[in-house]
């Protein structure tokens, strides 16, 4: 059973636009939710994360929102740039060890 589900699978936005990626999860015991960014040929790198005690976290152009009741998260990227073109993974954890990853969203930002 897929523990973390992401949508859309792929997305194209214009430079300067706002990107919205969404994620849902199954296990209500999850309490840590990182978003990872992966460029081709590289490993995933942590972009932003949120704990279940918060409902919003912002880091520059990136904001993640968390809805515990609906078991949903989202990642918003404002002023999207071509350099943001990558695959974004939503993930979840409850044990500070094992992380469950979604299957990712491939983002293309066109100039």
């Amino acid at each position: 059973q897929q523990q973390v589900r992401q949508s859309p699978q792929s997305l194209t936005v214009w430079e300067g636009g706002t990107t919205v990626l969404t994620c849902s999860y199954e296990d209500s015991t999850f309490n840590y939710f990182p978003w990872y960014q992966q460029f081709p040929g590289e490993g995933p790198a942590l972009l932003i994360s949120i704990l279940s005690v918060s409902d919003k976290k912002e880091d520059g152009r990136f904001t993640t929102f968390f809805n515990k009741r609906e078991k949903k998260l989202s990642l918003h990227i404002i002023d999207s740039q071509p350099g943001d073109s990558a695959t974004y993974f939503c993930a979840a954890s409850y044990s500070n060890n094992r992380i469950f990853f979604g299957d990712g969203t491939q983002l293309v930002v066109k100039p």
């Binding site: 973390v4 840590y32 990182p34 990872y36 040929g41 590289e42 490993g43 995933p44 790198a45 942590l46 994360s49 993974f89 993930a91 954890s93 500070n96 060890n97 094992r98 992380i99 990853f101 979604g102 299957d103 990712g104």
Partner: protein, 112 residues
């Protein structure tokens, strides 16, 4: 500070051959993970260690896969008798007390 390093970066095998992947975690990181990432999917945990001890190897696909971390530093993941279904990128990650895992660049394996 050096990141997680992995070698080789690429491997191409015929079915039935064996292959080993090597990982050097960030210095001082006690926890080390191996993930399998099939094409167009997210990383899936295979096994993880704290120091030299295996904490969870329940996701290793079969007896064909094994992993060791004998001195609690570097680690080796080995696939005996590779199958086409093993084609994927194998990622190593490490961490210390916090939540964040730091990933290496991965080894891209193709089994023909």
């Amino acid at each position: 500070e050096a990141g997680v390093t992995q070698s080789p970066r690429y491997a191409v095998l015929q079915e039935g051959q064996a292959v080993s992947f090597w990982c050097d975690p960030i210095s001082g990181h006690d926890t080390l993970y191996w993930y399998q990432q099939p094409r167009d999917q997210g990383p899936q945990l295979l096994v993880y260690f704290r120091d030299e001890a295996v904490i969870d190897n329940s996701q290793l696909p079969s007896d064909r896969f094994s992993a060791v971390r004998p001195k609690g530093t570097n680690s080796t993941l080995k696939i005996q008798s590779a199958k086409q279904g093993d084609t994927a990128t194998y990622l190593c990650a490490s961490k210390t007390g916090g939540w964040e895992q730091y990933f290496g660049p991965g080894t891209r394996l193709t089994v023909l």
